[in-house]
Symmetry: C2
C-alpha cells in the first residue's frame, strides 16, 4: 500500500513555492481543519474537568469504554429524541473521533465484504478497507475489489445505486469533498436498497451541523427503516471545533445485525461494544465534559455562531467564484466548495496555477479519486479576511 500522497505532495509544492517566493502571502484554503477557538462553554467545562482531576474526591480514572452516561444521554436526547428520532443512550458509543471509529469499524466486518464507496471519496474509507484486505488488486488509483459510485456534475453529485450487490456502503452527507448533501428522497433510495439487498450503510454525518436545506436529513435515522441497516458516525470536530480535543460518537442501533459464520444474525451493537471494550479505553474525561457543554443552551448558541461564521465564508466563496465564471457545488450545507476547473485544466495544473499566480492553496480533486479529476476543493475554515482576499485574488486571475 503506497504512502498517503495527497497532502504530502501539496505540502511539497507549497514549500517549493515559498522557497522561490519568500515574500508571498500564501492563503491556505486546502485544509479541512477548523481555525476558530473552542466555544466558551466548552472551555469552562474543560477547566472544571481539569480541576476534578486535581482532587481525589472528584478524580475520574478509567471511564466506561462507550463513554460517560452524562454525555451519551445528552446526545440521545438532543441529537435524536428531541428531533423525533428513536435512538437510546445505549446505542451511542463515544469515541475519540469519527476517523478512528470509521477505520476501526472494519474490525467487526468480514474480510471478504464487498465494499462500495462514492468517487470522489474521503480516502479513509478506501484505505482502511485496503488495509483489511478488502481492496483487491490495485488498478491505477482504484482497487478492483471496491465498487466506485461516481458523484460528478453529470449526475448532479447524486451517486446511483450499484449494479453489483454491495455488502457495505459508505455514504457521507454533507459530503467531503464535494460539499453537496443528499435530500431525504435520495437517502431513502439508499435505505430502501440496503433493506432490499441486506447491505450495511456506514453513514458519515460529520458535517450535519452545517446543513441549511430543510430537505436534507441531519441523521440517516430520519429515514424509515434505517435503524435496521445503518450505522451513523458523528464528530464534534467540525460541529464544535474539537479537531485537537478528540471526541466523536458512533450510533449502532440495537436491532442492526450482520451475518455470522454459520449464517446466524449477529447484533452489531454487541459486537462493536466488545471491540471497543477490548481495544479502547474511552475518550478523555476532559474532552467528554467539553462535548457535554456544547449541549447546554449557551454551548448551542456559541457553536452555532462559529458555524455561521464559516458558512458566511462559504457563501462569499460560492458567490465570488460564480461571479468570476466558475462552476461551483457545495458550500450551502457544508463548509466545502467544490470547484470545476476550467475546461481542459487538470486538478493538479489548476492547483499549480492558483498557487503560482495568486498564492492560494486548494486541494486537487484528483486526490479524492478518479472522478475528482477536473475539480478543486476549497474550504471555508479560514478567517473572513483571508477568505475575502483569496476570492479577490482568484477573481482577478
Amino acid at each position: 500500500m503506497p504512502e498517503s500522497y495527497l497532502f504530502s505532495e501539496i505540502s511539497r509544492r507549497v514549500s517549493a513555492f515559498k522557497e522561490n517566493n519568500p515574500g508571498a502571502d500564501i492563503i491556505r484554503m486546502g485544509i479541512g481543519d477548523v481555525t476558530r477557538p473552542l466555544c466558551g462553554a466548552a472551555i469552562e467545562a474543560m477547566h472544571r474537568a481539569v480541576d476534578d482531576e486535581a482532587d481525589a474526591a472528584s478524580f475520574h480514572g478509567y471511564g466506561p469504554e462507550q463513554g460517560y452516561p452524562f454525555l451519551r444521554d445528552r446526545i440521545a436526547e438532543t441529537d435524536y429524541r428531541s428531533r423525533g428520532i428513536d435512538i437510546d443512550a445505549d446505542e451511542i458509543f463515544v469515541g475519540d473521533g469519527a476517523k478512528s471509529d470509521l477505520g476501526n469499524f472494519g474490525d467487526i466486518l468480514a474480510s471478504d465484504c464487498r465494499v462500495a464507496v462514492t468517487d470522489p471519496v474521503y480516502p479513509v474509507y478506501v484505505d482502511t478497507n485496503v488495509m483489511a484486505g478488502r481492496g483487491g488488486a490495485p488498478d491505477g488509483c482504484r482497487h478492483e475489489g471496491i465498487i466506485y459510485l461516481p458523484m460528478t456534475r453529470e449526475n448532479g453529485y447524486v451517486p446511483q445505486l450499484p449494479s453489483v450487490r454491495s455488502d457495505v456502503i459508505y455514504l457521507c452527507s454533507p459530503n467531503n469533498p464535494t460539499g453537496t448533501a443528499m435530500t431525504r428522497d435520495e437517502l431513502k433510495m439508499w435505505v430502501d436498497y440496503a433493506r432490499r439487498e441486506g447491505s450495511l450503510i456506514l453513514f458519515d454525518s460529520a458535517y450535519e451541523a452545517y446543513i441549511h436545506n430543510p430537505d436534507v436529513p441531519h441523521s440517516i435515522y430520519e429515514i424509515e427503516g434505517a435503524r435496521d441497516v445503518a450505522v451513523e458516525f458523528r464528530s464534534f470536530s467540525k460541529t464544535a471545533g474539537f479537531t485537537g480535543i478528540r471526541c466523536g460518537y458512533t450510533v449502532v442501533p440495537r436491532q442492526l445485525t450482520g451475518i455470522g459464520e454459520s449464517g446466524e444474525r449477529v447484533p452489531l451493537n454487541r459486537l462493536w461494544r466488545r471491540r471497543q471494550c477490548t481495544k479502547f479505553n474511552g475518550a478523555s474525561y476532559v474532552s467528554q465534559r467539553a462535548a457535554e457543554a456544547t449541549y447546554t443552551a449557551e454551548g448551542r448558541r456559541q457553536i452555532a455562531e462559529t458555524i455561521d461564521y464559516y458558512m458566511e465564508n462559504a457563501r462569499i466563496m460560492r458567490e465570488s467564484l460564480a461571479a468570476a465564471g466558475y462552476e461551483v457545488a457545495g458550500g450551502v450545507d457544508s463548509p466545502y466548495v467544490w470547484l470545476k476547473t476550467p475546461e481542459g485544466v487538470s486538478s493538479w495544473d489548476f492547483f499549480d496555477r492558483l498557487l503560482s499566480r495568486v498564492a492560494v492553496v486548494g486541494t486537487p480533486g484528483a486526490g479524492f479519486g478518479a472522478c475528482g479529476e477536473g475539480y478543486l476543493r476549497l474550504t471555508a475554515f479560514n478567517t473572513r479576511e483571508a477568505t475575502r482576499e483569496a476570492m479577490e485574488r482568484i477573481s482577478r486571475l
Copy 2:
C-alpha cells in the same frame, strides 16, 4: 467470541453481597485503576492548554497523528537517551493509551501469525488476536492457535521459551497480573530467541515506573539487539495517573522489519505510521500537554511521590500477607500483589471467602488464564487507610 466475563462476574457477586449486607464496608483491591489525583504540574499544563484552545492565535486543531514533537522529543530524551538507550523521536508514536495501541498493532500483522502469550495474561493480548482470527478453535478458556507460556510459582514466574516457533510474543514486565518483573538476563534470553527465530516481541512496559530492582530493565532496548526485534508499549496511565486523560506511546525502531507477502523485509515503523495516519487523529492536545508536564523537574518529583505512595501500600500488603502465612509474589517492582490461595481453594472460592467474611474484593487469578487458577490479584491503588484496613481484616481471617 464470548462477552468479557471476569469483571462483570466480580461486579455481579459484589452487588449480591451488598444487597445481603447493606451495612458492609467493602474495600476494593481488585481494580487496576489509580485513585490519587493528577500531579500539580499536569493540572497546570492542562489549564494552560485549555486556554490555548480559547484563542484563535494559540488554537491547536489537528496535530500530527504520531504526536506533537514537544512530547516525542521529551520522551526520547528522558525515557531513552538520558538512560543511554538509542531511541529517536521519530521512532515514538504517541497514542491515547497502551490498550488501544496494543490492540491496534495487530492491524499491521499477518492474520496467520503464530502468537505466544504468558499464562496468566492481560486478556487484551489474547482477545484482540482472537478477534483478528489468530485464535484458532476455542479449547476451554484457551485457544488452540495460541501458544501459552506458564508463569507460575513452580517456574519462579519466569516464562520459558516456547517449544513451537512463535512469530509474535507478548511480554509484559513488570507483569500484569503477577506483579513480577523480568531481570536483564531473563529478558536477554527472549531478545536472543527472537533474533534467532525471527520473531517479533511486543513488550508492554506500562508499569516500568514502579521498578525498584536495579536488575530489572525499564526498557527492552536496554538489551543489546532488541531494536531489531521489539516494539515497546508505554502508558502515562499508571506512571502519572492518566487513566481518565488518555495518553500513552509506542516505540517502533526504524530498523525493525516484518516480512511482506513476497518475502521482502517491510519496516514496521513505516507500516505503523501508515496505520495511525489512516485510522487515528492523534491524542488530545490537552492530554499531550499534560504528558509533557510530567517530564519537568517538578512533574518528575510529583509523579515519583504518587508512585511511592502506592508502593508503600504494596509493601504493607506484601508484608502483612506474608506475616499472615500467605505466599505472595510481586509488589516490589509493580503495584500488583499476586497471592497464592490456600491449598485446595480455587481462585473464585477464595474470592468469595474474602468477600463474604471480610468484605475485601480481589481479582480471581483464574480470570487471567488457566495458570492463574489458585491465585488472587490484589492492587496497591487504594488509599493507605483502606489498604491497612484490608490487610488487618485478611490477617484476622
